[in-house]
Symmetry: C2
C-alpha cells in the first residue's frame, strides 16, 4: 500500500522517554514521566462533580471561558487582560500553537542545551531551525552568556526558556534572565517562557516572568502544580494581545477549545483554597527531594548533580554513559530518563522524578546505588 | 512592535460563523452553532462523577486508554484493532492531526462544494491545495460524478467526505459512495470520512463507511451524538495502523493526549445504555425537523431545500442573497449561517440548526417567515 504520510513528521518518532517507558518490564518503578503522582485535591474533585451536576458541557469561545481567563489574569496580578489569554488543551498545545503561529521556514529558535526535548521536535514539525546555547555542566548548568549572544543571527525569531527547567528543576539566575531579556529586546526576539514548574519551588517562592513587554509570552498549566495532567489545562498569556489573538486562531483550527469542565475548574484551582493543595504538594516534594539527595550523597559523596531550586527532578551524574546506565536500570525495573535526550550537555546524567510514592522511591534509589556501585 | 507572526496563518481569521455570532445582539436566538443543545445523559454525568471519585486524572498513552480504544473498536464491529485508533481532543484535532500527517506542500485535497468550512482552512494551514468537486444544488446536492473524476490529478493525496454532510445533513447515495471509493482506490487516494453526524439519522439507520481498506480513515466523536461537545472527545480510526501510528505521533506533539476523564467516559457512552441517550436525541431531533419543515413549507410551498436524511441542519433557499438575509436575520436577533461560506454552491442558502429549545425555534421561524415575506 502507498505511504500516505508527508514530510512533516520526517524523522520524528515517539519521544525517547516514551520508547524507554514502553520497553520496561511490568511492575517497574517509573521515575521517568513528567507527572506529580500525588492525590488530586479533594476540593477540586468535589467542585468538578458540582459543575457536572449543574451544567451541560458545551463549546466555549476558542480562547476559553471569560471567567477562567479572568482568573488566570488575576493569578498574574492583572498584568495582562483576558484578551491576552488563550486556554489550551494542556501546555503542550499552547507550545504547538505558539510555534505554529510564529515560525516561518528556516526561522531560528534558540533553545538551552539541555532543555525539554519536545521544543526541538515541534520546531522541526513547523519547519524552523533550532539553535542551541549552552548551559555549563561544569558550573551547575548556569548560562554561558557568550554562547547565548553568539547564537543570535538575523534569522532568530524566538528563544524558549523552560524556567524552572525540565530536566534541571532550576531557574536561571536573576542576572542571567536580565541579560537574556535585554538582548532579546534589543534584537526584537520573542521570549517564550514555559513556567509549568513555577509553583513547585523547594525553598524560596519563585515568581512569573510575565510583564507588560510585548515580546514576552508565558506558557503554563495546572498539570504539575495541581497534579492535574489528565485534565489537559494549559494556557498562553501575553501583554501582546495581537499575538494571543493569532495563537487563538491557530488553536481554533487545531482543537476548537479546551474541555468545558477543565476550564470551569480553573477559577477554583487558582483560588486561595485551590492553591493550598499546591502548598501541600510542595511539602511532599521538599521531603522527597531532601531524603533522596541525602541518601544518594551518603553513598556517592562526590556525586555531580544540578543544584535544583524546584521539584520534581534530580539530574544526576554517576560517571557512566547515561544511555548505558538507563538501560541497565530499566532492566532492573527502574525507569529513568537518559540526560543526553535533553541535549549533549546532559550526557552522563540521568533524570529522576521523585514525585511519587516514598516507598517506591526508596526501593528505586537502593537499586540505583547497588547498580552504580557494581559497575564501579 | 515587530509582528512575530508567520505566514502559516496568512489570510486565516476567526471562522465566518464565529464572526457573525460575535456581532449578534445579546439574547439572540442562536441557530448557527454546530451543537445539539439538549441535556446531557444523566447516566454519563453520574458515571463521570464516579470516575472523578475513583481515579486521579493522569496522562494516558498518546493514542488514548486501551479500554477506550477497545470500546471504539467494538462500536465499529471490531473491523479494526485498538492500534488503529487514536483518541483526540475532539474531531477537530483528529482532522488537524490527520491533515498535518499526510499533506506535503501543494498536495491536492478534494472537497465537496459545499462542505464543512474548516477543512479548507486546515488544508491551507498545512500548505496543501484544495480542489473542489461539485454537489448539484439543482439536484438536491447530489454528487456530480464528472466533476469528481475530473478534479483528480497526479497530485491528489486525499478526499475528505463529510458524511452525513455539514451543512446539508444528508449522506451521499450508496451508488455515489461506491463510485468515489472505487476511483479513490484506483488512484491510490486516501479517503477521509468525517462521520460525526452519523448517529443523528432521522429515518433509516445509517452505517459507518469504515472498512478494512487501508486507504480509508474515519473520523468521529461523541460531540454531536451524545450532546458532549464540551468534553472534547473525538477519534481517528483506520485499518491502516501505520497511518494511525503516525497520526498519533503528530497528536503527541500537538496536545499529548485527550482528557483522562473524557476518555474514561467513552466506554460508557458507547455502551447500550449510553447509546439509549442518542436514540432519545434522535426522537427530539425528528420532531423538530418535521415541525420546522412543515411550518416553513406551509408559508413557502415552493421553498428550495436540501432533502436531509440526518439532523441537525436545514439548508434553505428563500431566493435571496444569503449574506444579505443572514445580516437581516441577525439584526432581528436570529443567528443563522450564510450558505456560501460552505462553498459557492451554497449561495442563497442559509443553514439553520434546530437542535435547541422548541419555543426558541418557533420564535425564530416566525421571524424568518415575516422577514422573508417582507423582503418579497
Amino acid at each position: 500500500m502507498k505511504d500516505f504520510t508527508s514530510n512533516n513528521l520526517a524523522g520524528i518518532n515517539k519521544s525517547a522517554i516514551r520508547q524507554i517507558f514502553d520497553s520496561a518490564p511490568k511492575d517497574s518503578i517509573n521515575l521517568a514521566l513528567g507527572e506529580i503522582l500525588f492525590p488530586e485535591s479533594q476540593f477540586l474533585k468535589s467542585k468538578a462533580k458540582e459543575i457536572i451536576s449543574k451544567y451541560n458541557s458545551v463549546y466555549t469561545t476558542n480562547a476559553g471561558l471569560l471567567e477562567s481567563r479572568e482568573s488566570i489574569c488575576n493569578y498574574y496580578n492583572n498584568l495582562v487582560e483576558p484578551d491576552g489569554v488563550c486556554i489550551t488543551n494542556g501546555a503542550e498545545e499552547a507550545i504547538f500553537a505558539t510555534l505554529f503561529t510564529i515560525i516561518n521556514p528556516n526561522d531560528e529558535i534558540l533553545l538551552a542545551n539541555p532543555t525539554y526535548l519536545a521544543y526541538d521536535t515541534i520546531i522541526k514539525m513547523v519547519k524552523g531551525k533550532t539553535k542551541y546555547f549552552q548551559l555549563d555542566p561544569n558550573n551547575n548548568f548556569e548560562l554561558n552568556r557568550d554562547s547565548f549572544r553568539m547564537a543570535i543571527t538575523s534569522k532568530t525569531k524566538a528563544v524558549i526558556l523552560c524556567n524552572p527547567s525540565n530536566p534541571l528543576s532550576k531557574v536561571f539566575s536573576n542576572d542571567d534572565i536580565k541579560y537574556i531579556l535585554e538582548i532579546a529586546e534589543e534584537n526584537e526576539i520573542l521570549v517564550i517562557i514555559d513556567e509549568i514548574y513555577l509553583e513547585l519551588y523547594l525553598f524560596e517562592r519563585s515568581y512569573s516572568l510575565l510583564s507588560k513587554a510585548k515580546n514576552i509570552i508565558v506558557i503554563s498549566s495546572l498539570s504539575k502544580s495541581h497534579c492535574m495532567t489528565g485534565w489537559r489545562i494549559g494556557w498562553a498569556v501575553s501583554a501582546n494581545t495581537d499575538l494571543i489573538d493569532r495563537i487563538t486562531v491557530a488553536h481554533q483550527y487545531i482543537s476548537t477549545c479546551a474541555s468545558f469542565l477543565s476550564q470551569k475548574i480553573i477559577p477554583f484551582a487558582l483560588s486561595k483554597k485551590g492553591m493550598e493543595s499546591v502548598a501541600m504538594n510542595r511539602v511532599l516534594l521538599r521531603e522527597r527531594q531532601k531524603c533522596s539527595l541525602e541518601f544518594l550523597l551518603e553513598h556517592f559523596p562526590s556525586l555531580k548533580y544540578a543544584r535544583s531550586t524546584h521539584a520534581p527532578y534530580l539530574f544526576l551524574n554517576f560517571g557512566f554513559d547515561d544511555l548505558y546506565l538507563t538501560k541497565k536500570l530499566v532492566s532492573e525495573g527502574v525507569i529513568v530518563v537518559p540526560g543526553s535526550v535533553f541535549g549533549a550537555n546532559g550526557k552522563n546524567y540521568i533524570r529522576l522524578n521523585y514525585a511519587t510514592d516514598k516507598k517506591k522511591i526508596g526501593e528505586a534509589l537502593i537499586k540505583i546505588v547497588i547498580l552504580s556501585k557494581n559497575i564501579e
